[in-house]
Subunit: 558 residues, 2 copies
């Protein structure tokens, strides 16, 4: 037999890798690169899923005209020993049907949200399985899932590993569990190697605090490794508006997706395919687009060739259409953001805004911003709270569109103090920015930073400018009040010194002289002295820490 060629030899070394193997080795891409970050990422993935599930549940029950509960989430971190912790996240969501529990928790790239054009926290179907995998490869312990889907059925307990070679679940235990106290809900327990930090910008505590700010309708209870309980209360009792799934908009569609849609459609003409499976394409639009692409509107989709699809997509991308619908988006709302921030920081002044929706690459998105000043906010440089689809972002700040837009703002123009050399205001200010979209363009799978699309940067700046204008007026007024008060103090001090000097010169009683001087001052500066009294009253009227009264009030934001 002839000697094998080198190529034939090399061919035997080729093999498929499972996505689980890939991310096991590249787990830093998913946010599991350090022990501190791994713990936070695990909590984040579980809480994101819980909030999504609770909201979907409430929306569905509302639709069925049944009672529903607002999200009530428990996060507990137990120290097992050394650097081994158990993270427990329990919600009052709908529970998870037992037949899909293994895949939801132990198969990467499995989920209900990928490609769905609707705002949600999860979008990839990777996160929670990655957390299970991390726990397993660092401690050898399986994940434990308890889920109850109906108050009439017992809960189910599943213990599982990921079979990493095959990216599928290895179920160790699957049995009834009677001790689950809620009507419906899910409890996830993951044992992992980690490092716990009780405070700081990147701590679990701070993450939950910010989650609470961005989700004012959720109650979050946190029990730390020392058993200390913190309850982040709801700032509102109303459910955010339900989001609707939209169809792809022609501006954002890509050839690959369009081709697959054409292959799979059940419509029998291109005309009806365009009007019924894409968003905002009227019959007239479809006719014009197809004409320009030289495709007969009556053609059956399965007869469209590759080069015809290329021509069609060109016409779709530049078609003159209405913008995509925006009921797929769910902003937090101006009022709710203000209440949340007041609850946490008791600021002297606060302003928030929700911009109208805009579009990037055919995906609708919306920006909200708030500026809070004074109160419990620490002095020094302003702090940015970055939020995407109601999930706070703690890592990779420098790479994020929100940080970049905030740093590029001309804060001084609005009368907001900024030290030279600093990019953010030098004042006790919280800069809150929320971007929501059916598909947030993150810079990596760990979803820590928003990519720098110019249109997104622009919207963030417009939102911040609106807030900055108002905060600027407040700060200028505050500075003016202070300056006026100082000036009047100088006058009064001056009148006393003058009286003493005059009394000595004229050898008269000081009281007598003072009276004359006061009369002169009254004549000349009477309006200012009056103003002083007015200002004192006005100062008392400025918003102070007494905002707590509002915090328990309910109101419907939508």
């Amino acid at each position: 037999m002839a000697e094998k060629s080198v190529a034939e030899d090399l061919a035997n070394k080729h093999k498929s890798i499972s996505i689980a193997e890939f991310f096991e080795k590249n787990r830093h891409l998913l946010g599991f690169d350090s022990k501190i970050k791994a713990m936070l990422t695990c909590v984040k993935e579980a809480v994101d899923n819980s909030l999504d599930a609770c909201e979907e549940n409430a929306a569905e029950l509302k639709k069925r005209k049944k009672d529903f509960e607002l999200p009530d989430i428990l996060v507990r971190v137990d120290l097992i020993q050394g650097e081994v912790y158990k993270i427990i996240v329990e919600d009052n969501g709908p529970g998870i049907a037992s037949e899909i529990i293994p895949k939801v928790f132990a198969k990467l790239l499995y989920g209900s949200k990928f490609g769905r054009l609707k705002q949600g926290r999860g979008q990839q179907g990777i996160g929670i399985s990655a957390a299970v995998m991390y726990g397993q490869i660092t401690t050898g312990k399986p994940a434990r899932i308890i889920s109850k889907i109906s108050k009439d059925k017992p809960a189910q307990l599943v213990e599982l590993f990921i079979d990493i070679k095959n990216n599928d679940a290895k179920v160790l235990k699957n049995e009834e569990y009677v001790k689950f106290s809620k009507n419906t809900g899910t409890r996830v327990e993951i044992t992992l190697e980690g490092l716990y930090r009780g405070s700081g910008d990147k701590s679990i505590f701070e993450y939950l605090r910010r989650t609470s700010i961005s989700n004012p309708h959720a109650k979050i209870t946190f029990i730390d490794p020392e058993g200390k309980v913190t309850i982040f209360k709801r700032a509102t009792e109303s459910l955010p508006a339900e989001t609707k799934e939209i169809k792809p908009h022609p501006w954002g569609i890509e050839l690959g997706v369009l081709t697959r849609m054409i292959e799979n459609t059940k419509k029998n003409s291109m005309q009806s395919f365009l009007t019924e499976e894409l968003s905002k394409v009227s019959a007239l639009n479809a006719k014009q687009i197809l004409e320009k692409a030289k495709i007969d509107p009556k053609r059956r989709p399965d007869t469209i060739k590759a080069d015809e699809a290329v021509e069609l997509i060109k016409q779709l991308q530049k078609a003159d259409l209405q913008r995509p619908p925006t009921d797929c988006l769910s902003p937090v709302g101006r009022g709710a953001i203000e209440k949340s921030l007041k609850l946490v920081y008791h600021p002297e002044y606060i302003v928030a805004t929700t911009r109208p929706p805009n579009v990037y690459r055919g995906y609708p998105f919306q920006v909200e911003a708030a500026l809070a000043y004074g109160g419990d906010i620490p002095e020094g440089s302003a702090q940015i709270l970055r939020v995407a689809n109601k999930v706070p972002l703690l890592y990779e700040s420098g790479a994020c569109a929100i940080t970049i837009a905030s740093s590029e703002m001309d804060w001084k123009r609005y009368g907001i103090p900024k030290a030279s050399g600093s990019q953010l205001p030098t004042a006790p200010i919280i800069i809150f920015v929320h971007i929501c979209s059916v598909w947030v363009p993150f810079t990596s799978e760990s979803k820590a930073a928003v990519a720098n699309y110019p249109i997104i940067i622009k919207e963030i700046k417009l939102a911040l400018q609106e807030c900055a204008r108002q905060l600027g007026v407040f700060i200028k007024r505050k500075i003016k009040i202070k300056r006026d008060a100082q000036r009047i103090n100088t006058f009064i001090k001056y009148s006393e010194v003058l009286s003493t000097a005059l009394a000595e010169l004229t050898r008269k009683e000081e009281k007598e002289v003072k009276k004359i001087v006061d009369e002169v001052l009254e004549k000349r500066y009477g309006d200012i002295i009056k103003k002083r009294q007015e200002l004192a009253k006005e100062e008392a009227k400025l918003p102070t820490k007494k905002v707590e009264a509002e915090k328990e009030k309910e109101s419907d934001e939508e």
Copy 2:
């Protein structure tokens, strides 16, 4: 029938996503986020594969005591129309066996290099399939692969798409092709939407130039869209030392990998498993490790339980062992780097160094650095050439360990000019840093930046410090020569002015006075004038642009 619970309703919405679908939507993670970058990424993936294949081929043929060729790579970019280009990369490697061509080019996470502990350019089995996918979703055109694996067999032509839903190939054409001129090799043609830039830091031209610097044994021919041909010549005719695959070292092994190795081993005792399937574990080491982990050395691997594996890995990770072997690494070599940089920049001075190997997370790695000064290097701030496993890195500079280490260097300490406010030297300097490893820790799948492991930063700094010390001496000497020359010029100028003045005062002939003054100066400053002549000679001796003579010389670096 009872109403379905919300959980049961939601269960139906869950589905698996293929890795191809995931990266189709998240293609920015793979370097396909802008039209300019997409073209570069496509060239890069194809050239990386070609160089890897050529080197494996040469090493194997050498082993078989047969003739082999050094890498000879053609890169051609054709403008098809508008923003559609065809990228062609052809090599003289071993070719690819026709049965695996579809998977190599149209299945993500398929390859021969994942998990292999040996230095290579590719490591994931994603890149080239992602380029094929990008071409397909932007132009609807299939990729075209021509491969010849033996001079006695005709080449094979394959045209293919990726079936994105299933992450597998859809072959359109698979036939013999007689027009391929090389004995063996591969030609890849991908048609894609892009934007071509002829020059600049992130251009294909610059990428190929830097590839040539880091791969002095490769000849690269580039034909740009206007038909202009550039040949990047070889700086050396010798093949880099062949790298060997190593076994995992206990310091770097993770529980998941260890567990799978224990499950799959054919060894029948833990003692022989440890000594034969891990690197640098002697019989005595194995005995001590197993004793500490309370595992009988005679135990069969298939009887090891999860908690025993956890204990075993703890002992492995802290075992007192020899460092991992380093014949898995292939640095460029000090001499070859110098030659390459001379060929391109004709510097006045150049210094390079190759550090001894070190270890991060159990993976061996090695750093090389060079500093080139003057010649064709532009004035202004120094420029960094970042290279990982012989692949130049052009994007995400700020996030890269190489940039961070270079910026943290105390350049002034070595007498290298640096303007205040600048982090890099302010001089015509090229900073070249190459890190090679069996597993380079990149910050993302697009492999654009090296992660900031402290041990890696430290090695880079040590390499740069070695170079900086020598360059500093050169620059100081250059400055001193300049300063001395200026001083002597002043003296000479002074002597003439003095003579004129004295001649006027004494009413004598200026020549006569000058002679006397010169005698006095000779007496006092004779040594300096002599030195001036010496310095003139010395200046002529400094390395100049005349380094071309060396460039065609062959030499064996290893």
